[in-house]
């Protein structure tokens, strides 16, 4: 049997787990581990410029690939810098393993230099965490962490490693466990057949059905089944912000995203539905609007891997706990055996109504303007036109630009739309794009951002230079914290408290100073050619600083505490 030090076991376990890349930043508590990294080449370490970016990079990779992203940071400030990224992953159920250095075991609790209680600080935002006590436990702990992170409802797992147990002078027998067995952790593997049968009966009887699917479908790898089911039943479908791409965005059955900034037809169809098939969603407040007024005539079928998500906000009439892919597969199989279908006439009538909603207000209408000034909505439409035939991943930051991207870009495949939906983390998009690009070097990876958000992790331009990550940054520059400003205009009589930054850098020069390509686009006529040129530069990072109309708001917008159908459609029109 092989003998390794604790530090070597950390790195070897990662390699044996099949980890290709780790994102990290060194420091005192981790020096033994970094030395072990130096002396091997199975695992590649990517040095970021801020630990928060390491977590988002790992997260972006995880969202695109479905595999856990791995982060390595030192104790104290290194560990605390990951908190935003861990919380971001937690809220969106993203598999991630974060290894943090810790002061030597004997000094824990003494307020030693760079000591922080990482397990304590991260407790509310992790799926699970470990403080490793003995070097011999390192392989099994890492194995468990990966198992927990990626099974059931995925999530981040923290492993805190005291420096003394990584001591290069002490060697231990090493073997990486093949299997994990935990008596206290057994996520559901199948949906209950009785419940599935009940759900089918309800679907067959539906007159005004809608499918409402979310991130669970993307994460749970159930897009194929969802698409087949929705098409075979011929039901209208809407996706949450996290669920985009779970069903092809260009299919006519797709009504657009639902919720606070959801489309008119999607929100209306939800409100009037008699049966809602909710798959991998959690009835988030950004979807439901006022809970008491939510979809008054709907019976709800709710499929989710996490029982705690079911009937948390909205009572489910038919709860089904299980992996969404397996439950949908079971449903498809039964439908084929049953040789039954919903009432064709009723569904046709329902479609007539839905199409009326769709054509009366459009899906996401906006004022095209004078044709000179670039509307942010238009910028996304052009981005879609330019990239739709390429193998493209779109990441985004948080704000109006994010909503515009979710509304106007049509995602036909899962895992292609990567954004922080649950936590809403500004600064997420750019490092996330880098994580995607590293693993999919031949794909186009574009980050849709705003001048506010991009400045929250702009230091990563340096990481991109070092590792040659030619992503495209689409900066919808409205010179304001647009989403904040929109609320201030709508709810605070236009008192724009601190939503304006009067000191923006010249982004073109800034990125050029890092050795990348910068572009500034101010007129609509220049937009498409510039974008085509940017995407043609396959091996360069291109930062497109696009001046967009700051007066635009994101519509529709739910009217607070109303029902799903209560929304502003423009600055002056409401339902």
């Amino acid at each position: 049997m092989e003998h390794l030090s604790g530090a070597e076991m950390v790195v070897r376990s990662l390699a044996d787990e099949g980890v290709e890349y780790i994102y990290g930043y060194p420091g005192g508590a981790l020096l033994h581990v970094y030395d072990a990294i130096f002396r091997q080449d199975a695992v590649t370490h990517i040095l970021v410029r801020h630990e928060q970016a390491a977590t988002h990079m790992a997260d972006g990779y995880a969202r695109a690939s479905g595999k856990p992203g791995v982060v390595l940071v030192t104790s104290g400030p290194g560990a605390t810098n990951t908190i935003t990224g861990i919380a971001t992953a937690y809220m969106d159920s993203i598999p991630m393993v974060v290894l943090s250095g810790q002061v030597p075991s004997d000094f824990i609790g003494t307020d030693m230099f760079q000591e922080t209680d990482m397990v304590g600080i991260s407790r509310p935002i992790v799926k699970h965490s470990f403080l490793v006590k003995r070097a011999e436990d390192i392989p099994a702990t890492i194995k468990k962490a990966f198992h927990i992170a990626q099974t059931g409802r995925p999530g981040p797992v923290v492993i805190d490693i005291p420096k003394d147990i990584t001591n290069p002078g002490e060697k231990f027998e090493y073997s990486y466990p093949k299997k994990v067995k935990m008596r206290s952790y057994n996520p559901a593997t199948r949906g209950h057949s009785g419940q599935i049968r009940k759900a089918l009966e309800l679907l067959y009887a539906a007159k005004r059905p809608i499918v409402y699917s979310g991130g669970g479908v993307v994460i749970g790898g159930a897009s194929e089944q969802l698409t087949e089911l929705t098409k075979s039943l011929n039901f209208p479908i809407t996706n949450t912000l996290m669920g985009l791409g779970g069903f092809p965005g260009s299919d006519p059955r797709f009504l657009g995203m639902l919720g606070m900034h959801g489309s008119y037809p999607a929100n209306l169809a939800m409100h009037h539905a008699d049966v809602i098939l909710a798959v991998g969603v959690r009835f988030d407040d950004r979807v439901t609007n006022g809970i008491g007024k939510f979809c008054p005539s709907a019976k709800v079928i709710h499929i989710d891997i996490d029982p705690a998500s079911i009937s948390k906000n909205i009572l489910a009439d038919i709860p089904i706990v299980g992996p969404v892919d397996s439950v949908l597969k079971d449903m498809l199989k039964l439908i084929k055996e049953d040789k039954r279908a919903p009432d064709v006439d009723a569904i046709a009538n329902w479609w007539k109504q839905v199409e009326e909603w769709r054509s009366s207000k459009g899906v996401f209408p906006y004022d095209a303007g004078d044709g000179v000034v670039i509307k942010p909505q238009k910028a996304i439409e052009v981005l879609y036109e330019v990239t739709k035939d390429m193998d493209t991943y779109i990441t985004s930051d948080v704000g109006q630009h994010q909503m515009f991207a979710s509304q106007y870009y049509k995602f036909d495949k899962p895992r292609r739309w990567i954004n922080s939906g649950g936590l809403g983390t500004m600064g997420f998009g750019f490092p996330a794009a880098n994580g995607v690009k590293l693993h999919y070097p031949d794909a186009q990876v574009a980050c849709v951002t705003g001048e506010g958000s991009i400045q929250m992790n702009i230091q990563e331009l340096s990481t991109c230079m070092q590792y040659d990550l030619p992503v495209k940054i689409i900066n919808l520059n409205n010179r304001v914290l647009g989403m904040v400003r929109q609320w201030q205009e709508m709810q605070y009589e236009g008192r724009f408290s601190h939503s304006y930054m009067d000191s923006l850098p010249d982004f073109k020069k800034l990125v050029e100073s890092y050795g990348h390509v910068g572009m500034r686009v101010e007129k609509l006529e220049d937009l498409k050619p510039a974008m085509e040129a940017a995407f043609a530069m396959k091996d360069r990072l291109v930062f497109m600083d696009i001046a967009v109309d700051a007066s635009e708001h994101v519509y529709p917008m739910h009217i607070k505490d109303g029902s799903m159908r209560d929304m502003w459609l423009s600055k002056t029109e409401r339902t």
């Binding site: 304590g120 403080l131 008596r183 952790y185």
Partner: protein, 163 residues
């Protein structure tokens, strides 16, 4: 309504912190809580009481079940169960009070487990209502110090909470 939730969990450092943290984080209340290892030293049994509507308590048990260290969770109040709490009370007992306190203790089937010239220490076990009633009977003027374990509970009959 008051619920008694019984939890079987890994006897590992941090497990208790996760449970208590969950309650704080999700704004659930804990009325009482006790925890100790079971006959199998790798497992601990925790009992907590909380007050809330059924839907909230259902959410609490689901959230508890999600914690990786937790093996099993039951809401004992859903079925027939036995609940007990232990209390130690120091009461002033001098002169005529001594007889009075002794008599009250007997009525409640308590025991005097320690005494000085002016103090009795009374031990009492029962459901929480009985303990409250005792405190009321002796009266707040007489009470010097109270310590209660919080509720422990177990299902009646054949039902068991085990691996």
């Amino acid at each position: 309504m008051r619920h008694i939730i019984s939890v079987l969990m890994e006897n590992e450092p941090g497990a208790l912190a996760r449970i208590v943290g969950l309650f704080a984080q999700r704004n659930y209340n804990i009325e009482s809580l006790n925890v100790a290892p079971t006959e199998d030293p790798t497992l601990s049994r925790l009992t907590l009481t909380t007050i809330g509507e059924d839907r909230k308590v259902e959410q609490i048990t689901k959230q508890l079940n999600k914690l990786v260290d937790i093996v099993k969770v039951v809401d004992l109040t859903e079925g027939a169960h036995v609940e007990r709490e232990l209390m130690l009370v120091k009461v002033k007992a001098s002169g005529s009070q001594r007889e009075e306190v002794k008599r009250t203790t007997d009525i409640f089937r308590g025991q005097i487990v320690d005494l000085t010239g002016s103090i009795y220490t009374v031990q009492l076990a029962g459901d929480s209502g009985k303990l409250d009633a005792f405190l009321q009977a002796v009266g707040s003027v007489t009470i010097v110090e109270v310590v209660r374990t919080g509720v422990s509970g177990i299902a009646r009959g054949e039902k068991v909470l085990s691996l």
